[in-house]
């Protein structure tokens, strides 16, 4: 009954005034970051990482939990009012949210979005709390050979975030792997790619890279687009839908939560995919009288519930195995690292109180969203009028001072800025950045676990093929590799069948 005591300890740890304040502040900041087009949860947390550095771990993680959940809801505000998704995950909310605004039912759409988001986030947090401890207990038995296969599996999952072009995805992955190599090699102690600079001997700080990659390009983008929003566009309409019963959304919520959680656990896919799948699924099951795509509250509910159900679930592989499945998870791993908490099974053993506290905070902030979203709706809507030309340099200032305080080093600020420019260039060339980030983390893990396994076995490669866990990973990897082939064959068959029909 270890888990129960840990849960009780976790509850006690987060219900202190400071942590509650942090969770409220985080949720407010998250909704704001999500609502502002161009900013996202990843960016909000990336800017914040260095600031959390002086805080108690749970205060920092309470903030992070609030931002993560809040931003997912916040993204729906401009999606509904302006047809601009505030975050990529808000894309499916546009489908039914904006038509509702055109019908003068914006206020109802926002309310549905709020409750659906809270429901999805809460279910997701429950899954995190229930699934993580057993998975971590299992991972505790892993040795170097198992971790090697796990890292390879994680890297293969990256291929699913490669996007359109395989070669561009590979470029990004290789760039990340190379950045991970910089510094002293763990196994031989040799220096690689340091070019004689003492600042590179311990490698790139993952925090500096993440902040640069996720905070600078959005800032440059804001300046480039300089989108100004007219206050008359921010009309929430005057139709009151007090007759609408939230309870009627329950079946949609349950289905969408399951979809969101499953998509979240799988490395690679993100909240936008969860939302689109869920919205399609809801439309597929449409009954008479439903009008998906033309302003059905159920459409908003399906999309928003699923993208919020994605949040805590993406943290499951990150917290238990140390394998981030998405960019946000990588950034949250960065927050843990700042506080000396190494993601992986040890998190649930050595620092159980903090880990459980964080998981509970994910659930608590989900519920907090409802009063915060209801009370602050005017504030969030008006925040859309913040001039991007002030916002952009503001973000740069925050990240610079934040990164400086982590290492008291101006060199790291330069590194962050250069990484940021490179990241912006990558976006313009349509080279995805997510594979690079995951590769920075997983590459060194794969390399050192490979060589560590061979040291243990005395260069005997059979160590990789002994034991059930190794074989499970090998089978999963084989499946991952076979999947695109199977899919292609299916597609080809579908094409030929279509041709048959045509002729």
């Amino acid at each position: 009954m270890d888990i129960l005591t840990h849960l009780v300890d976790g509850f006690a740890a987060i219900f202190t005034p400071v942590v509650i304040l942090a969770m409220v502040a985080g949720t407010v900041m998250g909704v704001l970051a999500g609502a502002l087009p161009g900013l996202s949860a990843t960016m909000g947390i990336a800017v914040l990482i260095p600031f959390t550095f002086g805080m108690e771990p749970l205060v920092a993680l309470g903030l992070v939990a609030g931002i993560y959940n809040g931003a997912m809801y916040g993204g729906s505000i401009p999606a509904i009012l302006l047809r601009i998704p505030g975050t990529p995950a808000g894309i499916a909310t546009v489908f039914d949210g904006y038509p509702m605004t055109q019908q003068g039912r914006a206020r109802l759409a926002l309310r549905v979005s709020l409750y659906s988001s809270a429901f999805g986030s809460f279910v997701s947090a429950l899954c995190l709390i229930l699934l993580s401890p057993p998975l971590a207990a299992l991972a505790l038995k892993f040795g170097p050979s198992q971790f090697f296969w796990l890292a390879i599996f994680g890297m293969l999952c990256i291929t699913s975030v490669l996007g359109g072009s395989l070669s561009k995805g590979l470029i990004s992955t290789c760039a990340g792997l190379l950045m991970g190599l910089v510094g002293i090699d763990q196994i031989t102690g040799a220096e690689r790619y340091t070019f004689g600079s003492v600042h590179l001997v311990s490698g790139f700080s993952i925090i500096v890279v993440l902040t640069g990659l996720y905070a600078i390009p959005p800032a440059l983008e804001l300046a480039e687009k300089a989108l100004r929003i007219n206050s008359k566009d921010l009309n929430t309409g005057n139709r009151a839908d007090d007759g609408f019963r939230m309870r009627s959304l329950l079946p949609v919520w349950l289905r969408s939560s399951v979809i969101g959680v499953i998509v979240g656990i799988m490395p690679g896919a993100g909240g936008n995919i969860a939302a689109v799948i869920s919205w399609n699924e809801a439309r597929r099951r449409a009954k008479e009288g439903d009008c998906y795509g033309k302003g059905d509250p159920k459409g908003v509910a399906a999309a928003e519930c699923a993208n919020n159900a994605d949040t805590a679930a993406t943290l499951i592989p990150a917290l238990t195995l140390g394998v981030p499945g998405s960019a946000v998870a990588a950034v949250i791993m960065g927050v843990l690292l700042v506080h000396g908490l190494r993601p992986g099974p040890a998190l649930f053993r050595d620092t159980a109180e903090i880990t459980y506290g964080f998981m509970i905070a994910m659930g608590v902030t989900a519920l907090m969203m409802i009063p915060i979203g209801a009370l602050g709706s005017r504030l969030f809507i008006n925040a859309l009028r913040l001039p991007p030309l002030i916002l952009a340099p503001g973000i740069i200032v925050l990240t610079s001072i934040g990164v400086y305080t982590v290492g008291n080093s101006i060199v790291e600020v330069w590194i962050m800025m250069i990484v940021g420019f490179v990241g912006y260039g990558m976006e313009k060339l349509e080279i995805p950045t997510a594979p690079a980030v995951l590769a920075i983390i997983l590459g060194p893990m794969a390399e050192s676990e490979l060589r560590r396994s061979l040291l243990i076995s005395g260069n005997d490669p059979t160590i990789f093929f002994t034991g059930v866990v190794n074989w499970i990973f090998i089978l999963l990897i084989a499946l991952m590799l076979a999947l695109p082939l199977i899919r292609r064959r299916k597609a080809r068959r579908a094409v030929t069948e279509n041709q048959k029909v045509d002729t």
Binding site: F53, G54, P57, L140, K141, F142, G143, P144, I184, Q186, I187, T188, G189, A190, E191, G196, V198, H199, V201, S202, V338, H339, G340, R342, P345, A346, D350, V406, G407, N408, S409, S448, R452, L455, I456, G458
Partner: protein, 320 residues
């Protein structure tokens, strides 16, 4: 007119500052450089100790902790070594890295640019295995290693870490050969040990004593010259006939060339801080084996250690 008088006065003042500064020291905030990131072992220990040093230093000046992590500590040590030797920049100079980095590579500081002021912690090395291991005791382990050279695996926190160097010292003293498996941190060594992936784990006694007391791990001894109060039951390696004294010193140093009077002031204040009952209680909670040494003793200890590491390196460089 007034200007020249003023300048003259300033010059006279400047000539006498040496003595005056030492007498009044400290008159402003002292910076304490920590070569590791916040939240790490040394950082937590330093932040626990700082209020007590402030308490015993003359005057009401404060000490600001500045983290300068990077390059296994090189950035921080270089910051201390290159600072003006006025007593306002001090910092933790941990062994073995403050000694081994200049041995291993072209470094941005030299060991003799650092002046040891006082040692605070000595965490002796220890060697652990699962309680049901086949070796029994240290003699049994050495016998087994002699029977099958280079096959018994041991985990450390990395190449050139104190865990690694203490095992190099043991292998030299006992004439055995073991197989080194470096890990990223001591929690990883522990997990690999408990999972049965490696046979031995080289960790500091302060890190393992709780697990040993709980019966989760068994220890072959501690590598201090004397037994640590926190582990009075655990025999030292010397008691068992192997002349291995090894571990990690965490003490305070300053740039060389510091006024001896300031060294004395600092060293005394740190000594009083380490002796403070309240601090000792906090240290016990963090399982910090305290070992105060004044400037002369600490300097002698580190100089000896430097000779030892240099000899080990010349014999068998641990980095390719």
């Amino acid at each position: 007119m007034t200007k020249t008088i003023f300048a003259g006065a300033l010059a006279a003042l400047a000539m006498s500052t040496g003595a005056v500064a030492a007498q009044d020291y400290p008159t402003r905030t002292i910076n304490m450089v920590i070569a590791y990131s916040a939240g790490g072992g040394t950082d937590v220990a330093a932040r626990t100790l700082v209020p007590f040093i402030e308490k015993y230093l003359p005057g009401d000046e404060t000490i600001a902790v500045i983290n300068k992590p990077g390059a296994s500590g090189e950035l921080g040590f270089a910051e201390i070594a290159k600072a003006t030797p006025d007593g306002y920049t001090i910092g933790f100079i941990n062994t073995p890295t403050s000694i081994t980095i200049p041995i291993q590579r072209e470094a941005s500081f030299a060991f003799d640019q650092l002046k040891p002021i006082a040692n605070v912690v000595f965490d002796a090395g220890s060697l652990v295995a699962l309680p049901n291991n086949d070796f029994g005791d240290l003699a049994g382990l050495v016998e087994a290693a002699k029977a099958a050279p280079g096959t018994i695996t041991y985990g450390t926190t990395g190449i050139g870490s104190d865990d690694h160097l203490s095992m190099l010292a043991l292998q030299r003293a006992a004439g055995i050969e073991l197989r080194h498996v470096p890990f990223g941190g001591s929690s990883e060594i522990r997990a690999a040990l408990l999972g049965g992936h490696i046979a031995l784990g080289s960790m500091n006694i302060g890190e393992v004593i709780d697990s040993v007391n709980e019966g989760e791990l068994a220890t072959f001894g501690q590598m201090g010259a004397d037994r640590w109060d926190g582990a009075p039951e655990v025999p030292t390696f010397q008691e068992q006939g192997f002349d291995v004294v090894s571990g990690a010193y965490r003490g305070i140093g300053a740039p060389v060339g510091l006024d001896p009077a300031i060294i004395e002031t600092l060293s005394t204040a740190i000594g009083e801080a380490v002796a403070d009952e309240e601090f000792r209680a906090a240290a016990a909670e963090q399982a910090l084996p305290l070992d105060y040494q004044n400037s002369d003793d600490f300097t002698a200890t580190l100089t000896d250690l430097q000779g030892l590491y240099q000899a080990l390196w010349d014999e068998n460089p641990w980095v390719e």
